[in-house]
């Protein structure tokens, strides 16, 4: 019906096979090694974008009165709403600390001070009542709770902030708080969710939503990194559970990743069961790839690449206009989400990380070609050459549909995390080329 209707989308493209080799790949030198010139070109653009993005948020997002961050920023950085979304507060603290801790050029006092102020704001206001772990979803500028979600994600991003901040401040109390929050999260997810406040209804089946095991796996990675065997061991059973829960989302004889499955790993009825979220599957892909490298698990690596990187790309790429769809229905019905055919910034960020990581681990040239395809679309459509930072929400045809730079769900997170991780991976590829 439109160029991007589920029917039209399926034309073109076949799954890459293991070992397939593009003889004319433009990112390989004639001898078959990768083009250093191309890698360096990508790296330079990514470094510049990361610098610009950090500068944008340093300039516009800080609330120097109350601490924490404004995230509702218009095209030119103007604050158009003062509400503080806890997901985005936690993510910005995490990202500032990660940059400060791991990249020399961001080891700057203003970044550390902003992260500390954000962390203090979260500690003071995010938890709805003292002694309880439930966090608000949204706060007023001065920290009063406006809304609570009956999910675990505010708490997850609170934890990410606390743990990463404790790494730069050496605050052991903060690290302990992160670990305690982890215990609470595990309890809610695996033992008893009643504390989240969702009513038990007879028609509401328990669901394995991709976001939950992905998020827990991300938190395990955060809490364990660089902390030795003891911590890794502490979370090893949980890690296995997360992987098993994520792999349950591969359905239809291995031909599709579905966003929601039953607790037994079966397909759910209706739209909920048929929903695909390609960007989310790609993000799960690089989470699994990261783990496969740590565990030197080549089987997991292969599954991650074939099922969670290549498959979602194949089903999610819009062959008509380029870019990744936001939502799809595995049977080709029209999704009921009004934004299904929009091109959002974050799935493209996840795809860039996933393909570059998959290439870094395997050196298969077709994966670098995919990275290049996503890179071209992303850098041709999302960055705002006039006012800096990236547009977040494009029409199917690739025009900005919303001109805001930050909002209730877009903060200082997916863009800088993608640029930061890609920069590090490109550094590594350039440093270790044959």
């Amino acid at each position: 019906m439109t160029d991007g209707s589920p029917g039209a989308r399926r034309a073109g493209g076949e799954l890459l096979q293991d070992g397939l080799f593009f003889t004319a790949c433009p990112y390989l030198d004639p001898e078959g090694t990768m083009s250093v010139v191309k890698l360096e070109e990508w790296r330079q653009r990514i470094v510049k974008e990361l610098d610009d993005t950090v500068a944008f948020w340093l300039k516009y997002s800080h609330d120097t009165t109350h601490g924490g961050f404004f995230t509702c920023l218009g095209r030119d950085g103007t604050v158009y709403d003062e509400l503080k979304y806890v997901w985005l507060q936690g993510r910005q603290v995490w990202m500032y600390c990660r940059l400060y801790r791991t990249m020399e050029r961001f080891r700057r006092p203003e970044i550390l001070e902003a992260a500390k102020a954000g962390g203090a704001f979260l500690r003071r206001f995010a938890r709805v009542s003292s002694g309880q772990w439930k966090c608000a979803f949204c706060l007023t500028r001065d920290g009063k709770a406006v809304k609570i979600q009956r999910t675990v994600f505010s708490e997850c991003f609170y934890l990410l902030a606390m743990d990463e901040l404790s790494r730069v401040t050496a605050d052991e109390g903060m690290q302990l708080e992160a670990e305690q929050m982890m215990e609470q999260l595990i309890h809610w997810v695996r033992v008893d969710s009643s504390g989240l406040g969702r009513p038990q209804l007879p028609g509401d089946f328990p669901t394995n939503s991709m976001a939950v095991p992905m998020m827990l796996l991300c938190l395990v990675h955060q809490l364990s990194e660089g902390r030795g065997q003891e911590v890794a061991h502490k979370y090893s059973e949980l890690t296995g559970w997360c992987v098993q829960q994520i792999l349950q989302h591969v359905q239809r004889d291995g031909t599709a990743v579905l966003e929601n499955v039953s607790l037994q790993g079966g397909e759910l009825p209706g739209c909920l069961g048929r929903l695909q979220n390609p960007g989310h599957a790609l993000e799960a892909g690089w989470f699994l790839l990261q783990l496969s490298a740590q565990q030197q698990d080549s089987e997991l690596q292969r599954t991650a690449i074939n099922k969670f990187v290549e498959l979602p790309f194949q089903s999610g790429w819009d062959n008509g206009h380029g870019g990744l769809f936001y939502f799809l229905d595995v049977d080709g019905h029209c999704p009921t989400q009004l934004e299904w055919n929009m091109k959002l910034w974050w799935p493209h960020c996840e795809a860039l990380i996933a393909f570059l990581m998959a290439y870094s681990q395997t050196k298969k040239p077709e994966l670098l070609q995919r990275f290049s395809q996503v890179y071209e679309y992303t850098f041709n459509h999302f960055p705002d050459a006039d006012s800096g930072e990236w547009f977040g929400y494009l029409t199917q045809e690739g025009k900005p549909a919303l001109d805001l730079k930050g909002g209730p769900f877009k903060g200082f997170f997916h863009v800088p995390r993608c640029l930061y991780m890609c920069e590090l991976m490109l550094d590594d590829l350039l440093a270790n080329r044959d």
Copy 2:
């Protein structure tokens, strides 16, 4: 930034002034009376569309096993999800009964039987537990509760269904149930909302959302119609309260209708306070016009037309591509709703009713010209010539973005209600022309 950016949108168009007269109005005969040919042309198309729409839902939406209606219907009527949304169940019962009761050609047994089966399904399953008035938002095909909203709208549409069904079945118990539900709704809205289950949070100010007084006014109209002075008197104080609550949404020195205001009638901070929903304001407009006719209140009529019909049309019409935007920000910021610039079917339905009613009451030709403008856009973009019924969700440019005919929020309601009301109004205009 795009053609439909809040900035670009503001070009063109000025508020019509009372008494402004378009000398070249194409819907007026040279003598200055309206063109009978044009009215008859509109009427014929509307009659045909209503017949086709009724036929579509009769054919595809009935669940003959469990009663009630499938509303998730694909482009060709295929059921793509079996969930039953209580808003849409109640609305379809109401619409079937209203057509059966008031239009000779729809006084057909199959319509009455489907309405009764829908009513029985609602009575058996919608209320979450016996003895309580809270209804589910969504049920499984066989009636198990899937989700509850912490608002009053499922209950409002339940009431609409019960009252209208009681009028065709003469079931006094059902009418009593509708009246009892009304008492519960008034209690939740005006006395104590704690039974709805929303947590009290310090940053969550109580808000006067346009939907609530509009809905109550609609229910008063439903319960009172044709039932004499005693019932009208019973609800007269509530009617006045609803009107006063709706009028509080006129803000900015009378230049804008805002969707959410404080309980004191002041503007709220941030995006929530600046939100405009032109289709909703237009719907409020014809609710007020209906009341102004009953009460012979020319002041209310003038306010309804100037503030709730003409003003939202002026702010909401997309001068670039035609059609009404879904959401806008009164200060021209980009709304955070991803679908803000889409063209939805229902605001156009409300605009058609509003302008035709305003014209019918005043005979001001500029209002008929507005009707024509909305009519042209609507009938050129929403009806699906291939498979029947209307597309619900268009891109800003007017292409179908979703090809479904029904979904969680689109059922057998806005399209047939609009066609039904416009047909009756055109009948009346044609019968009573000078």
